[in-house]
Subunit: 304 residues, 2 copies
């Protein structure tokens, strides 16, 4: 089983309006709700791939209850730990040609709630082969949360994949996860200078304390540093669409590769193709497997 | 006791952002939630005036539960009837100098839920001296809902005040409520031509099937047609502020006047001053009684 962790889960709400006019009042013609947060999207893609997956994390208040019931409706098994404060909403105001985001701040987590999560995590991780840790930390969760979870997972014999940013990523790396997946911006934050393209980034990947580093560069593909070698995997022609959720599809592919081990070039080609299929899909965490299979044949993997 | 009815209750959410930029993603710095809907605001003002009040209506899902718990936190007694669908949210994106509204559509009410509400209303109205019916009807509620509720209230010996718009108002008027409070736009919709100012509007008021008509004209005040006479009540200098909720404060004052009967000019002066105090208050349904008392002394009431 793959366990995904989403400590700052969200209720993703989309408001459709003909045009967003600041200062005006809009009657929203359509409201769509969806469970959100990076780890939730990872779980959704893994379920599409047919892997056994459980989504855990923190979910609070009425919004948290809604997140859990929406996941159940989708058939994603969940083991979220309840907290008192309301899980955040991410509101997207969708016009025909533009999308405006309004991100609520995360809920405040109490020390007792964090202790309860650690206890639940210790139970869940005993059944996990891989733990994927994704996204930001809500206020109140210790900044070294991912460090504690990676150590607990390692103690239980599970592989770990980390996809976060800022201090949460930095502290998580101090526990040496099995795989870390920064994007170009996160990588720049870690090494202290911009690395917008994969060409010159291999040295930066060597500086990170993880067994495997897979860095994502948007349409320029993935740069991977592994114990078996290093590769650049990419599509010859970038796909058009919504990049939100592409990184989560990449993490799902890499976690999938840990329980279905094959040579790295194949795993990376899967990750590029799944990410691109997610870009083509209209909402984060959903993708069309036939898109994936078609794109998979076009991926180029070169030694780096 | 005054019973307020809010069939399309809302969870009013305010997002504070430094500036709203269409197409961009915004981290919301502050989220404020408040129970909303016109009848809820009426109940809040009546509680401020010290009148015994119960807020009823339809409240659904997690949002409805939140509306009820927020009312309880404020000390407003509520007897909302639960429905399965989610009560709507009204999101206001507040910049320092502007406010952008996003109004979700109302929840769909089933025939069984409407029947359950009618039964609960019949119980509640037995203890009510006045019933104030405010706002729009959510989908699924019959368009003649206010007609049925006014007839049930009259059968139980309660006075009725109606403040709605469009077809809901038109059908409600067919039951001849004791008082109707259209604004200039609603009045224009009823009589078929624009009446932006009180000066020439008295004939239009005579055309409406209600014992008393009090029409509101924003900063130009109230025009009232009663069995005892007709008056124009206004402030010599309009106040600056947020007009949302001013009409609800007016309805609260008129309902208050029904259980504390005094001559109409005094009731109308109260209604003008409470509306103006609501304009000066930062959020709908709240007001400062010392503002009200100060403004009350300035109100001018003339026979019309």
């Amino acid at each position: 089983m793959i366990l995904t962790v989403t400590l700052n889960a969200a209720l993703d709400v989309t408001y459709r309006v003909p045009a967003l006019v600041p200062g005006a009042t809009h009657r929203v013609t359509e409201v769509a709700e969806r469970a959100g947060g990076k780890g939730v999207n990872v779980a959704r893609v893994l379920r599409t791939l047919g892997d056994p997956v459980i989504a855990t994390g923190l979910a609070g208040g009425a919004g948290g209850a809604r997140i859990r019931s929406l996941l159940a409706d989708e058939g994603v098994r969940e083991a979220f730990v309840p907290i008192a404060a309301e899980s955040r909403r991410t509101v997207v105001v969708a016009e025909p040609d533009a999308a405006t985001g309004l991100w609520e701040p995360g809920p405040i987590v109490t020390p007792n709630e964090w202790t309860a999560f650690l206890s639940r995590f210790a139970d869940l991780v005993r059944g996990a082969e891989v733990v994927a840790l994704s996204g930001s930390l809500p206020p109140g969760v210790p900044v070294d949360a991912y460090c504690a979870l990676i150590e607990a997972a390692r103690g239980a014999g599970a592989w770990t994949v980390l996809d976060s940013s800022g201090d949460a990523l930095r502290h998580g790396l101090s526990a040496s996860p099995d795989l870390v997946k920064p994007n170009a911006e996160e990588l720049a934050g870690l090494v202290g200078h911009a690395l917008p393209r994969p060409a010159a980034a291999l040295d930066a990947l060597r500086a990170l304390a993880a067994r495997t580093v897979v860095a994502s560069f948007g349409p320029e593909g993935l740069l991977a540093l592994t114990k078996q070698g290093s590769w650049h995997a990419f599509l010859p022609h970038p796909v058009a669409g919504n990049p939100t959720g592409a990184g989560d599809a990449c993490v799902a592919a890499l976690a999938h590769g840990m329980i279905h081990p094959r040579p790295w070039p194949e795993r990376l080609a899967d990750a590029v193709a799944l990410s691109a299929a997610a870009v083509r899909a209209p909402v984060a965490g959903s993708l069309d497997l036939s898109d994936y299979r078609r794109l998979r044949r076009a991926v180029i993997v070169k030694e780096a």
